[in-house]
């Protein structure tokens, strides 16, 4: 499956010098060029704001498409193949999509921010449509008709009445022609789709269910050894001294000791671990805040980095509006550090060939990974190839390239391929976490239920979800970042989880204070028409108005918009006799433009809903002295079958809007909907995530409004 390497990565080579056909064979190639250093902007033709795509129709009949996005379990491999198949009028199984191979793929920032669909669909559509147009003119000459008269069906070009036919492979035989995609206007509108937007079985499903699909941790190379890196016992520790003398004379162990980097490689994983245990290291630690001090610590330690993740919104006079509001609430909301916990821990395999290295890496950021490895080795990025095989999920947690660099260094030292893979405990201790958030909110409304005042400040969590979907004339909403003592980074939906939890809980309280129904209150204040439609649909499908109150039962609703998508979740909860709540039902209504792959979108929304339930109810990282103390799956609880409510998903298909991303937004309304349902069932408003610390709803509010 892996294609030969070109002499230089295509994204770092001017288009005319790429030698596409030396790698792909005879045929035609249509590319959409990103604005980057190789094209100097635009590159002729249409250029998307980020990313690019190329599509090759081969004389051997193969159709190959290339994108820089990675498949990390979000299902875009099939979804993106569908749009290429649509434009080229072939069944989806005919499309061979290469994703995230830094030698062959267009440069891409990374697979995050729900950007795979919005970034990759337009250029892939344009490149495939451009290839189809080229096929049309080749077919016109062959069939003696005009290009506009050529029909396409199932990989064959036909004359208008179908009497003459020629396959794509025959059309491009002997050709080596590159064309630049013209404007995206020639692509097929979603309303006319016949392949995209239809139910589709993943062509690779048989590989998944037979165990044949190769993930990064499954890559095996001839003569491969296994590497292990010496890692600090706690955060805030630095290597003070290291004694490797116990390894002297060990033939089948390769030790690499370069400053603070100490690692060994050996023929088996257990030999490598045994060897590393013989290394004597001492560490210098600085004191680390524990759980009781963490909130005060984060408030007192603002950070000066990462300022892309800062939002500052101000309108009107919120202080005065708050003082004058008929009803107001003021509270602090908290969300714990949590871990992504992808089922496949980080893994990389590196192999050198001369002065070039290839690394198979489970990653969301292959190009950044390439730069990280090149920088760490002190070699140009042209000599590093990162290939992302199928990755056993990421959820924002696989942005780093440390295992890749470690594998590359050990492989060079050992003179053979080396694999470096984290154990589950290493994944918890040495990965990074979703940041803890502290949100201070004060808000007010008129007695008729119009929002008039809003102040909202997030400490440490991030900017996502600071912007409100409600129209509020007097508002101050912002965030600040902190120097977190625990490593933190992106997580599915980022701070939109914390910020929507705080916002929607606040909105619920205000609705209750003015004696209005939570749906009616929201509808009145929402500025966004798409979100109003999603809310109305959720109320209908969630039987909102026909709900009969009964002791110990509660229902809640919440909405949000994020990353271009709109979501509403309805939760139903029953409180057990011991105050243990059970979430009976979660209904999620989601809209993100035109739907490309309905089955996959359904799975994405179901999956996000259940993942969010874990963060809402019980997921929480515990730590002490820089050590994650619950770093096993027996200690860190994630949702299991027994936690699974009845999950219903309603997808709204907006064929008039471009396909948006779906990975993150369906997360963000779950926690506030569940919290409101628990409030109705128990009378207790919970303001911290996870909502339950010992599985039970406390008798009195744990964090009363201040």
């Amino acid at each position: 499956m892996t294609l030969e390497r070109p002499s230089r990565p295509w994204d770092r080579t001017p288009p005319k010098e790429r030698g596409y056909f030396e790698v792909l064979g005879d045929g035609i190639l249509c590319h959409v060029l990103p604005r980057d250093r190789t094209t100097g902007g635009g590159g002729g033709g249409w250029s998307p704001p980020s990313g690019g795509a190329w599509v090759h129709v081969g004389a051997d009949g193969r159709i190959r498409a290339f994108t820089g996005k990675a498949e990390v379990g979000q299902g875009t491999h099939t979804a993106l193949s569908l749009v290429v198949a649509e434009e080229l009028r072939v069944p989806v199984a005919r499309v061979e999509l290469t994703m995230a191979d830094t030698d062959l793929s267009p440069w891409d920032m990374g697979t995050f921010g729900s950007r795979s669909m919005p970034d990759a669909v337009p250029p892939l559509q344009a490149a495939a449509a451009g290839a189809r147009e080229e096929l049309a003119s080749l077919a016109a000459a062959r069939l003696l008709v005009s290009a506009g008269q050529v029909r396409f069906e199932d990989g064959v070009a036909l004359s208008p009445e179908g009497g003459h036919r020629v396959t794509y492979g025959e059309l491009v035989r002997g050709l080596r022609k590159t064309v630049v995609a013209s404007t995206p206007g020639r692509t097929t509108p979603a309303a006319d789709w016949k392949t995209a937007g239809q139910p589709a079985v993943d062509p690779a499903a048989a590989d998944v269910v037979t165990g044949r699909r190769v993930y990064a941790s499954d890559v095996r190379r001839p003569g491969m050894w296994y590497g292990v890196v010496l890692l600090p016992p706690n955060h805030g520790a630095e290597l003070a001294s290291v004694d490797t003398s116990a390894l002297e004379g060990e033939e089948e162990v390769r030790l690499l000791h370069d400053g603070p980097f100490v690692a060994v490689a050996a023929p088996t994983p257990w030999d490598a671990r045994r060897a590393l245990r013989k290394v004597r290291a001492t560490w210098r630690s600085t004191p680390q805040p524990g759980e009781p001090e963490i909130e005060a610590y984060l408030r007192a330690h603002p950070s000066h980095g990462d300022h892309w993740d800062v939002e500052k919104l101000a309108e009107g006079d919120p202080a005065r509006a708050l003082a004058e509001a008929a009803v107001s609430v003021r509270a602090t909301y908290r969300t714990a550090y949590i871990a992504h916990t992808p089922l496949e821990p980080r893994a990389a395999v590196a192999e050198w060939e001369g002065d070039r290295v290839t690394i198979w890496l489970g990653s969301q950021t292959p190009f950044r990974g390439r730069d990280h490895v090149a920088g760490g080795l002190g070699i140009p990025p042209e000599r590093v190839r990162v290939i992302v095989p199928f990755t056993g999920a990421g959820f924002g947690g696989k942005h780093g390239g440390d295992v890749a660099l470690a594998a590359a260094r050990l492989s060079k030292a050992a003179g053979r391929p080396v694999r470096v893979a984290f154990t589950r405990e290493e994944e918890f201790q040495h990965g990074y976490l979703r940041p803890m958030s502290i949100v201070d909110v004060a808000a007010g409304a008129t007695k008729d239920g119009l929002l008039t005042a809003w102040t909202f400040h997030n400490v440490n969590g991030g900017a996502a979800g600071i912007r409100s979907p409600y129209s509020i004339p007097n508002l101050q909403a912002d965030n600040e970042l902190s120097d977190s003592p625990l490593p933190q980074g992106p997580y599915r939906a980022l701070a939109a989880n914390a910020n929507n939890f705080a916002r929607e809980s606040t909105v619920d309280e205000l609705a209750s204070l003015v004696g209005q129904d939570p749906v009616a209150f929201r509808e009145k204040n929402l500025a966004d028409e798409r979100l109003r439609t999603v809310l109305r649909t959720a109320a209908e499908r969630g039987n909102w108005t026909s709900w009969r109150p009964s002791p110990g039962r509660g229902h809640g609703i919440a909405v949000g918009f994020e990353k271009g998508g709109r979501v509403a979740t309805v939760a139903e909860v029953t409180l057990g006799p011991d105050r243990r709540p059970h979430v009976d039902r979660l209904l999620t209504v989601f809209e993100a433009g035109a739907i490309v792959h309905p089955d996959n979108l359904q799975s994405q929304v179901e999956g996000a809903t259940v993942m969010a339930l874990g963060g809402a109810l019980f997921e929480e990282i515990h730590f002490d002295g820089g050590v994650i103390t619950n770093r096993r799956l027996s200690e860190y609880r994630v949702p299991r079958f027994s936690d699974l409510p009845r999950v219903e998903v309603v997808l709204l298909d907006r064929k008039d809007l471009p396909p948006g991303g779906a990975g993150e937004t369906p997360m963000i309304a779950v926690a506030p909907a569940v919290a409101s349902a628990i409030h109705e069932a128990s009378g207790v408003r919970l303001r911290s995530l996870p909502l339950l610390r010992d599985g039970k709803v406390p008798a009195a509010p744990r964090s009363p409004a201040t």
Binding site: D202, A205, T210, T268, E344, S603, T609, V638, R640
Partner: protein, 171 residues
């Protein structure tokens, strides 16, 4: 390095049948079956997810019963019959669990799927028509982080149907 020398088998060698094929595992009685499968036999369908029997990604059949390969040592499997996800299909014909998961797309990243499929196979062998509660209980030890479980519940019911359809056809 060869303890026994020549063609002789090391004294701590363990004989086991894997996917119908007799195999000999040498010099690793203390290793887990999972490590042996992945490192010695190159059977990569059985996944490592936690190493403590919590996630189900390494589930295999031992004499027809689902076990966590990370929790069984090589010396414990001597003389036993092991079936991994690679051994479930007959040629190109997927077994009912595999067929159902593929048909319904009951996965996202698919990393948990081999274990889920093996677990489902074991469940259907002892309970051919499980209730939803029985499915939930049987698969409680299988974690999926991506797909949210709902399609898995449907896939197991579909697998049960496929088994019955196949039994009718061959009757």
């Amino acid at each position: 390095m060869n303890g026994a020398g020549g063609a002789a088998v090391a004294t701590d060698a363990v004989r086991v049948v894997v996917n119908g094929r007799p195999r000999t595992l040498e010099r690793m009685p203390e290793r887990s079956l999972l490590q042996a499968l992945r490192t010695e036999l190159d059977l990569m369908g059985t996944k490592y997810g936690c190493g403590e029997g919590q996630c189900g990604a390494c589930t295999v059949l031992m004499d027809g019963k689902a076990v966590h390969a990370c929790q069984v040592s090589v010396k414990e499997v001597g003389g036993h019959d092991i079936v991994t996800v690679e051994g479930l299909a007959r040629g190109d014909e997927l077994n009912p669990a595999q067929q159902a998961f593929a048909e319904l797309g009951a996965f996202q990243c698919g990393f948990c799927t081999p274990g889920m499929v093996v677990g489902t196979t074991a469940l259907l062998q002892r309970t051919p028509s499980p209730s939803e509660a029985e499915v939930r209980e049987a698969l409680e030890g299988h974690l999926c982080r991506c797909c949210g479980y709902t399609k898995v519940l449907r896939a197991v019911q579909r697998a049960s149907e496929i088994s019955r359809e196949r039994a009718r056809r061959s009757a």
